[in-house]
C-alpha cells in the first residue's frame, strides 16, 4: 500500500527555472516530518506545489494523496480534501474579519464533505475553544484577516486556522520565522495538541533547536538543490546544527 502522501520523482519549475529535480518523499498518517535545507533548495516550492499554487509548474513526477492523484485537483479542492498550508508570509485581507473568514472556510469544507453549515452557536464555540488554547484574543478574531498583526501574531493565526479547519495534512512553511520564543512555544504546542494517529505534518524550517525540543519529529529530510539528499531521525538535526548543510552539498 502506498503512503498517505507519496511524492515520486517530482520535477517542478518556477517560471523558466528548474527548482525541484527528482524529489521523492513519503509520509504516513500520524507522522511528523521535517524538511530542512539551505536557502534556495526548493523548500517553499515543495509546500506551494503540494497546495497547487499555479506559479509552480509540475514538469514530471507524481503526487498521490490518500490514494488519489493530486495533480489535476484545484487549490480549493485540495484544501477541502484536508491539505493545509501555514504560510511563510500570510497576506492581509482588509474588510473581512478572521472569524467571518473562518466561517466561510469551515463551511466550504463541510459542504464538500456533505455536511450542513455549522449554526452560529456551534461555530462560535468551535472558534472559542481553539482561540483560547492558542492565546488568540477576541479582538484578534475581529480584526480583518492579518491586518495590523505583527509577524508573530500572523503565524499564531495560521496555527489557529489550522486548528479550526482540522486538516489531515498540515504543511508549515517556515513556521518559526518571525516569532519570538513565547509565540514559538504556543505554535509548537498547537502542533502537539493537534497531533494524532490520523494527522500528518510536514514542517519546513531553519530552526533546529526549536524543532528538536518542541516538536520531536519522526523523520528529518535534508533538501539540497531540489532533491532529498538525506533522511534520518530527529538526531540528524543535531548533526546539521553542528556541521551545517555543506556536508550534504558536497555529496552532490
Amino acid at each position: 500500500m502506498s503512503a498517505f502522501l507519496e511524492i515520486k520523482d517530482l520535477y517542478v519549475n518556477a517560471g523558466e527555472k528548474e527548482i525541484l529535480k527528482g524529489l521523492s518523499l513519503s509520509i504516513n498518517r500520524g507522522e511528523i516530518h521535517v524538511v530542512v535545507g539551505p536557502n534556495g533548495a526548493g523548500k517553499s516550492t515543495l509546500s506551494n506545489v503540494l497546495c497547487g499554487n499555479e506559479l509552480y509548474k509540475v514538469i514530471s513526477g507524481n503526487i498521490d494523496f490518500n490514494g488519489e492523484n493530486l495533480l489535476p485537483i484545484s487549490v480549493e479542492d485540495r484544501a477541502r480534501r484536508g491539505i493545509f498550508l501555514s504560510f511563510q508570509s500570510p497576506v492581509e485581507i482588509s474588510g473581512i474579519s478572521m472569524s467571518t473568514f473562518m466561517k466561510y472556510a469551515l463551511n466550504s469544507h463541510r459542504k464538500f464533505k456533505g455536511l450542513e453549515p455549522l449554526d452560529a452557536i456551534s461555530f462560535a464555540k468551535h472558534l472559542k475553544i481553539r482561540a483560547k488554547a492558542l492565546g488568540i484574543s477576541d479582538e484578534m478574531l475581529k480584526r480583518p484577516v492579518n491586518v495590523n498583526c505583527s509577524g508573530g501574531e500572523k503565524k499564531r493565526l495560521e496555527i489557529f486556522q489550522m486548528a479550526v479547519l482540522e486538516p489531515e495534512l498540515c504543511i508549515l512553511d517556515e513556521m518559526d520565522s518571525g516569532m519570538d520564543v513565547d509565540a514559538v512555544k504556543i505554535a509548537s504546542n498547537g502542533v502537539n495538541i493537534m497531533k494524532d494517529s490520523k494527522r500528518s505534518f510536514l514542517i519546513i524550517s531553519h530552526n533546529n533547536d526549536f524543532l528538536y525540543e518542541q516538536i520531536k519529529p519522526d523523520y528529518v529530510h535534508v533538501l539540497v538543490n531540489g532533491k532529498i539528499v538525506k533522511t534520518g531521525s530527529k538526531d540528524l538535526l543535531l548533526d546539521i546544527k553542528k556541521s551545517g548543510f555543506s556536508q550534504f552539498q558536497k555529496e552532490i
Binding site: N53, S94, G95, Y104, L165
Partner: protein, 481 residues
C-alpha cells in the same frame, strides 16, 4: 493567473443578465424624434395644466441652445436624439386598482422580484412601479393617505396636487441646470411623487421600480419628494432593463426638498442592463439627483449601489441651506467589462454648522473605468461647517482604471474639510490564500468586495442590503485576471 482567468470566463458566461427579458406587451408609442409638437403631445396626452406645458416648452427651447456635455471621464458617441422615442406606455396601463393591472405587467414585476401585492404586504414596502414611461401601479396608497402621506405617480400628482407640484417642480434642479436635466424637463413622462406632511414619520419604506421595456425608447422619469417639517421618509429606487444591442438613454431627475427638522433617506440599487462583455448595448444613465436641506436641522442621506448601465453619469448632491443641516452620500459603484462610471456628489454648505459626509467605494474589474468626482463647497458664511470625505478604490485585474477627482472650495475660515483616499487591488496572493483555505475564486472575490463595501451596504434598508450584496457578487464573481 490562468486559473483565475478560467474562473472569470466561466462566471461571465454563466452570468447572463438576469433581467434581460422583454415583455411582449402592446404599447402606445410616439414616433421617434423630438420637436415642440412631441413636447406638446406628451403634455396633452397627460392632460396637463398650461403652466406645466409652459415649463416643458421653456425647457425644450433652452435645450436647443445647449450642447451635450463631454467633460466626464466617459467615452461615448454623441447621442442621436432624433433616433429616440420619447414616450412609450403599455396600453391601458394607468389603472385605478391593483386588480385591473395587466397580468403581463404583473408577471414582469414578479420576475424582477417585485410582486407588487405580496411583497408589499410582507415587507411593509409601498411600491410604485414605472414601466417605460408611465407609472402602472402604486401599492398601499390608501393606508398611507390615512396619515396624509401622498405617494403616487407624478402625473397623478399634477392632476390632484397641482399646487405642491407647481411650487416645488424645478425648484432644486432648474431646467437650466444641465443638458440632460433640461431634456428631462421637456419630455419627462412619469415618475414618483411623495409628500410627507408635518410631523409624520412614514411607517414603511417607499419604493419605486423603474423598468425600460420598449426598444429605442428613452426613459425620462422625474421624482419629487417633499418632506415637510419634522417628518421622516426612507425611499428606495431599483432599476432594470432588457438586454438589447443598442444603447438606450435614461435621463432622470430626482428632486428632494427637506424642511425644518425633517429627514429623507434615499437609496438606489441601480442595475440597468450594462451591455454585453464586448461592450455592446447597455443603458446610458445620465441622472441629476439633488436635494435641498432647506430648513433648520434638515437631513438628507443618499445611498447608492450602482452596478449596471454601460455609462453612469450621476452626482446625487445636497444643498445644505438650513443651519445645522446634514448631508450624506454613501456610494458603491461597480464596473466590469467595458462599463464606465463617473459618479460622485456635490455638497454645498451654505447654512451655519452644516455637516456632510461622503463615503465612496469604487470597484473596477475587466476593462472598465470608474471615476469618483466630488465637489465640496463651503460658502463664506457657512460658519463651523464640516465635511469628511473618504474615497476608496478597489481594482480587480490590470486592465481597468480607477480615478478620484475631489474638488474642495472652502471660503470660510472656521470650517473644516477632510479628505482621505485609498487604492487597493485584489492580488493573486490574496486569492491563493483564500483558495488554500477552501474558498473558490468567486467566493473569495465576493467576500473581499463585500468587506470593502460593507460600510456603505450597512446604510441600506435591511431587506435591500441583502439584495444589493447578492447583486455585487453577481456583477463581479470571478472577475479576476
Amino acid at each position: 493567473m490562468t486559473e483565475s482567468k478560467d474562473a472569470l470566463r466561466q462566471v461571465v458566461e454563466n452570468d447572463a443578465y438576469k433581467y434581460g427579458f422583454v415583455t411582449e406587451i402592446e404599447s402606445d408609442e410616439f414616433l421617434k424624434g423630438i420637436n415642440e409638437d412631441i413636447v406638446r403631445c406628451i403634455s396633452h396626452k397627460k392632460n396637463e395644466p398650461d403652466w406645466l406645458l409652459d415649463f416643458r416648452l421653456k425647457a425644450f427651447r433652452h435645450w436647443l441652445t445647449i450642447k451635450e456635455p463631454h467633460w466626464g471621464k466617459i467615452d461615448y458617441q454623441t447621442i442621436d436624439y432624433q433616433d429616440i422615442c420619447y414616450y412609450s406606455a403599455p396600453k391601458n396601463a394607468a389603472k385605478k386598482t391593483m386588480d385591473e393591472v395587466d397580468p403581463e405587467l404583473l408577471k414582469t414585476y414578479e420576475k424582477l422580484g417585485v410582486p407588487l401585492q405580496e411583497r408589499a404586504v410582507l415587507a411593509g414596502v409601498a411600491v410604485d412601479a414605472v414601466f417605460d414611461s408611465v407609472s402602472v401601479a402604486t401599492t398601499f396608497k390608501e393606508r398611507l393617505s390615512q396619515q396624509g402621506i401622498i405617494f403616487c405617480s407624478i402625473s397623478e400628482a399634477v392632476q390632484n396636487h397641482s399646487d405642491l407640484v407647481k411650487k416645488y417642480l424645478g425648484s432644486v434642479v432648474p431646467y437650466t441646470d444641465n443638458f440632460f436635466a433640461c431634456l428631462n424637463a421637456a419630455v419627462f413622462s412619469d415618475g414618483t411623487f411623495v409628500y410627507i406632511p408635518k410631523g409624520v414619520r412614514c411607517p414603511m419604506e417607499l419604493s419605486t421600480y423603474f423598468r425600460i421595456n420598449a426598444k429605442k425608447t428613452g426613459q425620462f422619469e422625474r421624482t419629487l419628494i417633499i418632506a415637510d417639517d419634522s417628518s421622516y421618509v426612507s425611499y428606495l429606487e431599483g432599476c432594470t432593463a432588457p438586454q438589447r444591442d443598442e444603447n438606450q438613454l435614461h435621463a432622470a431627475i430626482v428632486e428632494i426638498i427637506v424642511l425644518d427638522n425633517a429627514e429623507v433617506k434615499y437609496s438606489t440599487v441601480q442595475n440597468w442592463y450594462p451591455g454585453d462583455k464586448e461592450g455592446r448595448g447597455g443603458i446610458y444613465n445620465f441622472v441629476t439627483k439633488r436635494g435641498l436641506c432647506a430648513g433648520y436641522n434638515s437631513k438628507l442621506s443618499w445611498t447608492q449601489v450602482e452596478t449596471g448601465s454601460a455609462l453612469t453619469w450621476k452626482y446625487p448632491s445636497c444643498v445644505l441651506k438650513g443651519d445645522n443641516s446634514v448631508g450624506e452620500f454613501y456610494s458603491v459603484a461597480i464596473t466590469n467589462n467595458y462599463q464606465q462610471a463617473d459618479t460622485g456628489t456635490k455638497m454645498i454648505h451654505i447654512g451655519k454648522n452644516t455637516k456632510s459626509t461622503i463615503v465612496s467605494k469604487g470597484i473596477s474589474a475587466g476593462k472598465s473605468q470608474n471615476t469618483y468626482r466630488g465637489f465640496v463647497k463651503i460658502a463664506k458664511n457657512s460658519e463651523n461647517s464640516r465635511n469628511y470625505s473618504q474615497c476608496d478604490s478597489l481594482l480587480i485585474g490590470n486592465q481597468c482604471g480607477a480615478h478620484t477627482l475631489p474638488v474642495m472650495s472652502d471660503e470660510c475660515p472656521s470650517a473644516c474639510v477632510e479628505h482621505e483616499a485609498t487604492t487597493s487591488k485584489i492580488s493573486d496572493e490574496q486569492l491563493f490564500y483564500c483558495k488554500q483555505r477552501g474558498l473558490d475564486a468567486e467566493e473569495a472575490v465576493s467576500l473581499i468586495v463585500n468587506g470593502f463595501c460593507k460600510e456603505v451596504m450597512q446604510k441600506l434598508p435591511m431587506e435591500f442590503a441583502m439584495e444589493a450584496t447578492k447583486l455585487v457578487a453577481v456583477t463581479l464573481e470571478g472577475s479576476v485576471g
